[in-house]
């Protein structure tokens, strides 16, 4: 009887020690759910969700403080993916959320730019190159189209230009139209 008790307590102690050790050794840094949500978000860092970037929004979603329908650049496809990930129902965009727009990039009118650097400070991805009293320009391949540089410009020289479709970005349309037309 005593032996059994001793063995059981020794085992319990040993397993407890192993568990305790692994809890420290294999501790998960941060919330893995946040990274999964962040991977779905389009990383425009535009703040249209009312959070200061995609990561904070992902953290708010993970904490249950924000709905999943607040990201216009992600589109309905994004909401669907978030709903899938979180096991929630799909919900349409809220009334207070801006409508999704076609993907655009900012373009600086270089004749009007006065070189004030305000847009450079506003850009969340360092996609604007320039210096004080020097003309600024946008690195198109880095621009996420977040529009954050537009309001700070004192001379309104930044416009958002929708990206034209090219042979490289073109994709086949969903053949639904053909099917709907012919459905009885």
């Amino acid at each position: 009887m005593l032996t059994a008790l001793l063995i059981m307590s020794a085992l319990a102690l040993l397993l407890g020690a192993v568990l305790g050790f692994s809890a420290i050794k294999f501790k998960v840094e941060g919330n893995p759910l946040v990274d999964k949500i962040d991977a779905i978000l389009p990383q425009t860092q535009c703040g249209q969700c009312s959070f200061p970037g995609c990561k904070p929004y992902a953290m708010a979603i993970a904490a249950g403080e924000a709905e999943i329908n607040r990201c216009p650049p992600g589109g309905e496809e994004g909401i669907r993916k978030l709903a899938d990930l979180l096991g929630k129902e799909f919900i349409p965009f809220g009334e207070d959320t801006a409508a999704p727009k076609p993907k655009s990039v900012a373009v600086i009118d270089e004749n009007t730019c006065i070189g004030c650097t305000l847009c450079i400070q506003a850009c969340p991805v360092d996609a604007i190159s320039g210096a004080a009293k020097q003309m600024h320009t946008i690195i198109e391949s880095e621009c996420t189209g977040c529009e954050l540089c537009v309001p700070p410009c004192p001379v309104d020289c930044i416009t958002m230009v929708p990206l034209p479709q090219t042979l490289q970005t073109w994709k086949w349309q969903y053949p639904e139209a053909a099917l709907e037309k012919t459905a009885p």
């Binding site: 073109w170 086949w172 053909a178």
Partner: protein, 522 residues
């Protein structure tokens, strides 16, 4: 007699080949204008080296290849470059592509050119010449030949594709009948580059004249002409390899993975023109057939508008309603007769309601699995359709969507007339688009995180500097306080200490930079 293997599935569509394969091919006369798209190959768009207004000679370089996966474009005849602008091209998107517009001067004057002894050249040099001559695979995919051959050395089997399995098309048939000797000379160059243990030419048994001509030309050369049964799509690269060698190209792999390289007979002919005559790829044989008065094959300059060729074939009959560029199974339907012939165009079919009736309305899938029976890639087309329709792209991918060769056999047999291939194309391009978006998002995330890190770092630097300054001020204050203790009559202690601290600060600021301690100059 070589033992032939079979691939899974396949169909027997009506051939419609005799009408265009019977008359000998003819050389198309100079068209009034040529439209040369800069992207006629898989890979990077070629870069123009001429300007509007330039006079160019036949065979002169117009656009050079950029990087490895690219091919050059040459002037098909002598004339003037009218402009370099966006023009409609034969692409399913209908989007315009940057083209060089050339107005022929009618003289057809060649630039200085001559053949060369390829055996005297190092391998790299020969491959570079192939690239600079704009040689791409003429079977339809227009993959740059020098890239394909770059890694193909000491392979097991070199396969020349003369199957031409798609209905209506007869260019390779006519080419093999008329230029068998030239093709064999081109094959010799390929053999020199790839050093294969065996060289095979696969030809479907519905082309007896071509088989006879090739057999005669190959006599004693060690190249074996293999007659294969007619079955669509036996001319598909992977299918032909399976028939001839019994080997299967692994999913997601290339023929080179199993020691096989595959090339079209027309490509071999183009290589011969380059090596033995110094001519870059400026023309090709193309079938003009369908609803025209006299279907025929034409040796057409690259860039010739479709309309010109249709006129040569006697013109489109009154009830025509558009064209198919390529074959009826995998080709592209267009209505614009001004689109140019490019390196990859092997056939122009003039359409009519009688020859190509509009497909009946699509009905729901009844899961009869006829598509499974004919799929040459051994996929489950009905499942792929299901997933693509539901936009369940991950699932479609896990069912090997990317092994689909879009041959159209499934759509051909579907009793519900579902445009299955369109669903697969949609799913494939959507997956590619998602991957592009993901790359862009990853880049943006990385840059944003770096920016946050940078701002944080700057903040810390500033705080450190401030802390150091404060520390110095405190030290000065303490020193001053110690001093005032010795001089009790110097006003109130506190005031004196404050003044001394200020003085210390002023001294510090006034001190030349070189005297400052190193940790402060940071």
């Amino acid at each position: 007699m070589r033992k032939l293997h079979t691939f899974h599935g396949g169909i027997h569509p009506d051939e419609h080949k005799l009408m265009s394969s019977t008359p000998p091919s003819a050389r198309a006369p100079l068209p009034p204008r040529l439209i040369l798209p800069l992207q006629q190959h898989i890979g990077v768009r070629a870069k123009t080296v001429v300007q509007a207004g330039d006079k160019v000679l036949k065979g002169q370089l117009l656009a050079s290849s950029v990087g490895m996966l690219s091919a050059a474009i040459h002037a098909p005849t002598s004339g003037t470059v009218v402009s370099i602008e966006f023009q409609a091209v034969a692409h399913p998107s209908g989007l315009p592509e940057l083209c060089i517009l050339l107005k022929p001067d009618g003289e057809d004057r060649w630039i200085e050119h001559s053949g060369f002894d390829y055996r005297a050249l190092p391998r790299e040099e020969l491959l570079t010449r192939l690239r600079d001559a704009g040689i791409v695979g003429l079977g339809g995919a227009t993959f740059p030949t020098h890239v394909k051959l770059n890694n193909a050395q000491g392979i097991q089997t070199l396969i020349l594709n003369g199957a031409e399995c798609e209905p209506w098309i007869t260019t390779d048939d006519r080419l093999m009948r008329e230029r068998a000797a030239e093709i064999v000379q081109g094959i010799e160059v390929l053999r020199y580059l790839a050093q294969p243990a065996e060289t095979l030419i696969g030809i479907e048994d519905n082309k007896p004249e071509a088989i006879a001509a090739m057999q005669q030309a190959c006599n004693g050369s060690g190249i074996e002409v293999v007659v294969i049964p007619t079955l669509y799509p036996s001319g598909g690269e992977k299918q032909l390899i399976k028939i001839l060698t019994g080997k299967e190209v692994p999913s997601g792999g290339r023929p080179l993975n199993i020691g096989v390289a595959c090339s079209n007979v027309a490509t071999a002919c183009a290589i011969h023109r380059l090596v033995n005559h110094g001519e870059p790829m400026i023309s090709r044989l193309i079938t003009v057939t369908g609803n025209v008065k006299s279907p025929q094959n034409f040796e057409a300059l690259i860039g010739t508008p479709i309309d010109e060729l249709v006129q040569l074939a006697g013109g489109a009959l009154p009830d025509s309603n558009g064209f198919i560029v390529g074959g009826p199974m995998m080709g592209l339907e267009v209505t614009n007769a001004q689109l140019p012939v490019v390196k990859g165009s092997n056939c122009i079919i003039v359409k009519s309601g009688k020859l190509f009736p509009a497909p009946p309305p699509a009905l729901p899938c009844i899961r009869c699995t006829r598509c499974v029976q004919v799929c040459p890639a051994e996929l489950q087309p009905q499942d792929l359709y299901w997933f693509a329709k539901a936009k369940n792209l991950g699932k479609a991918q896990s069912f090997h969507l990317f092994d689909c060769i879009e041959c159209g056999a499934c759509s051909y047999v579907c009793p519900s007339n579902i445009p299955l291939v369109q669903y697969y194309r949609f799913a494939k391009s959507q997956i590619w688009a998602n991957e592009r978006d993901k790359e862009a998002a990853d880049l943006a995330r990385e840059r944003h995180e770096f920016q946050l890190m940078r701002i944080e770092r700057d903040k810390q630097d500033k705080a450190e500097k401030l802390a150091q300054k404060e520390k110095a001020a405190l030290a000065a204050k303490a020193a001053a306080a110690a001093k005032t203790q010795g001089e009790p009559d110097a006003g109130t202690g506190a005031d004196a200490a404050a003044i001394d601290a200020l003085r210390a600060q002023v001294r510090e600021i006034a001190r030349p930079v070189s005297e400052q301690p190193p940790e402060k100059s940071a």
